[in-house]
Amino acid sequence: MPVWLREYSWRQSPSAVYLSLPVRGLRVTPGSIFCTEQYLKVSIPPFLFEAILYAPIDDTNSTAKIGNEVIFFTLYKKEAAMWDSLTLANANKEKLQCLRENAVLRAHEKAKEETEAKKVTKQEHKKYALEATMKLEEAERKRIEDLKEKERQKVTRDLELWKKQQDAEKQKRAQKEVELHQEVEQLKEKKKEKMNKTRIPTEETSKTRLKTTRGHGSYSMFSENLKEEQLPAPRAAATIKINFTSRVFPTALRESRVAEEEEWLRKQAEARRTISADLSELEDLKEEEKNPDWLKDKGNKMFVTGDYLGAVNVYNLAVRLNNKLPLLYLNRAACHLKLRNLHKAIEDSSKALELLTPPVPDNENARVKAYVRRGTAFCQLELYMEGLQDYEAALKIDPKNKTIEEDAVKIRHLIQGTTQDS
């Protein structure tokens, strides 16, 4: 149960009510005062003071001054009239309750409205600030554009001037040439006429060459010496022998590819060196039959003549000797294709592709072949999607190959045909 504060004193003027409420020893904060149009409450737990005002007041402008041990309220009346008393007299409990609730509701609404209004103003401020900065930036940009435009115009004007200058100079030069020519003619005639011992101090040359230096023309007048340029004789022919920094690949050197290329070269070198575990049968073989390269050639020859089984055998032996040479697997895959051992063909092509990493321009050819062979095998097994993937990979490496392109198109049609039927 709150403790009611009942000691208060008040006086009034036509427009305002002055209420003074002693709060001895109590800490009053602005939060403890709650005021609406017709209801005033001061709550400092456990103390409570409330008043249902006689008439409505303007609660926004009314003030409360918290001084030592007293709160002084200045309440401005909505209607200028004299109140009979501070509070409404016959206020029973229910009415009080109602009024209180109303008051609280109204206060809430007001608070909400206030926050809304604040938000709106904040938005507007932000927008304004943004617009202001945008305008500034626009102005800056425009200034730079203007500068550039001016510069551009100036330069075009200069260029035009310069062009005209050049034309004028050309004309002048042409004129001078004509004049010089005429003078030459005249002097020639004079010489013929004179025929005396004293020669004209200058030498006549068969051609009058105008020597122009960079920038402006210096016109040698006829009276000056015109010497033909003494060019040195052509050099004595000679050869200089040079050496190049070595490079294995025929393509140009690029720093970013160096790492990959080194890896590929290293792999190739290793592949040559590995000789897999000895097998007792190997001792029966002749020397040359132990060389995987020789075996590869033999296999190739058999493939060409059509002896596919024989070729497969030879490649098998070669692989046992050295299982790191990708070309062996590649060629064996081709044989298997011809023999319609499709799964084996796929295996061998895949193994070849594995060994053909990293991808460098050097092993492009091999990779294209591997993809094509594997693709063919897939298609013959009716696994068209996988086949198409491989064909497209091959096409990516070598986009210019027409046969691959045509085959890829065929496969696509096949796929579309089967999906339509099912």
């Binding site: 510069e151 052509p234 050099r235 000679a238 200089i240 190049f244 920094t245 720093e255």
Partner: protein, 297 residues
């Protein structure tokens, strides 16, 4: 408009006099021809100089610049660099070829330099394996070589007709190197500074004729970059053995612009108007540009 049977790869006016204005071209078949553009049916000079395409050509001694005999140098995919004199038919004046048995590398670019008097000449050649070789024509020997780790697309001296001052070499992978050519160290060669400009190949470099410290590079991404070279406080210093060693300066980017999505493969400055330049790109356009404020650089 004139058409010839074989595609032409490169050309230069560098070796002709200002009146004659003959164009020297190298074509895809390895032929070097010099044409009089007023009578283009028959070349003034023609020789099947190389077995494969002539990648690059340069001329010196003409246009009123420099002294000495007019000469043309061609670099070809067959790995040789040959110097021709238009007055001597059929045989080159100098031939830089690989030693017997050596596998050949593509020569991608050639340039003349150091032509400050009648005898001195130097040819610089860049190859696809990153080699740069400097040949001295007066002594007919290899003067210097180095490898810049990327195929060399273009070499240019900052001026052909002075004691060789700077050499810019551009390469694949967006790098270029500027060599200070005034001081050659017996083992270390020339000092250089290198810069990575863009991710793509730098196809061409051309120094501004009016100011040899400014040069423009054109890139595979269709962009042009304008650079300025600043000399160091001291261009040469002594190393531990007392031999003179060059000191490279620094390069700073002045401006760049992207003109096209295709590589800009060739570029040239006008010798008359400072800042006027023309460039040709793979998108089949020729663009004329003007660079302003070069006086204030």
């Amino acid at each position: 408009k004139i058409e010839k049977p074989k595609s032409i790869k490169c050309g230069t006016f560098g070796a002709t006099s200002l009146q004659q204005r003959y164009l020297a071209t190298g074509d895809f078949g390895g032929n070097l021809n010099i044409w009089n553009l007023e009578a283009p049916e028959i070349p003034v000079y023609s020789v099947k100089g190389h077995k494969e395409i002539i990648n690059s050509i340069d001329g010196v001694g003409g246009l009123g610049i420099g002294e000495g005999a007019p000469e043309i140098v061609t670099g070809s995919r067959d790995g040789t660099v040959k110097v021709w004199d238009p007055r001597q038919k059929e045989t080159p004046v100098a031939n830089m070829e690989p030693v017997q048995g050596e596998s050949k590398r593509d020569c991608w670019t050639v340039a003349f330099g150091n032509a400050y008097n009648q005898e001195e000449r130097v040819v610089c050649a860049g190859y696809d394996n990153g080699d740069i070789k400097l040949f001295d024509l007066k002594t007919m020997s290899l003067r210097w070589e180095t490898n810049i780790k990327n195929g060399v697309c273009s070499v240019e001296f900052d001026r052909k007709d002075v004691n060789m001052n700077k050499l810019v070499a551009t390469s694949l992978e967006g790098k270029f190197h500027v060599f200070d050519m005034r001081t050659q160290h017996p083992t270390k060669g020339f000092a250089s500074v290198s810069e990575k400009a863009q991710k793509s190949t730098i196809w061409q470099v051309r120094p501004l004729p009016q100011n040899r410290d400014i040069f423009m590079t054109s890139g595979g991404a269709g962009s042009l970059h304008l650079w300025k070279y600043e000399y160091p406080a001291q261009r040469s210093k002594k190393d531990s053995e007392g031999a003179e060693m060059g000191v490279a300066g620094s390069v700073s980017l002045l401006q760049n612009v992207t003109l096209s999505t295709q590589p800009i493969s060739s570029l040239d400055w006008s010798p008359d108007k400072k800042g006027l330049c023309v460039c040709g790109a793979f998108d089949q356009t020729v663009r004329v540009l003007i660079v302003t404020k070069l006086n204030k650089v």
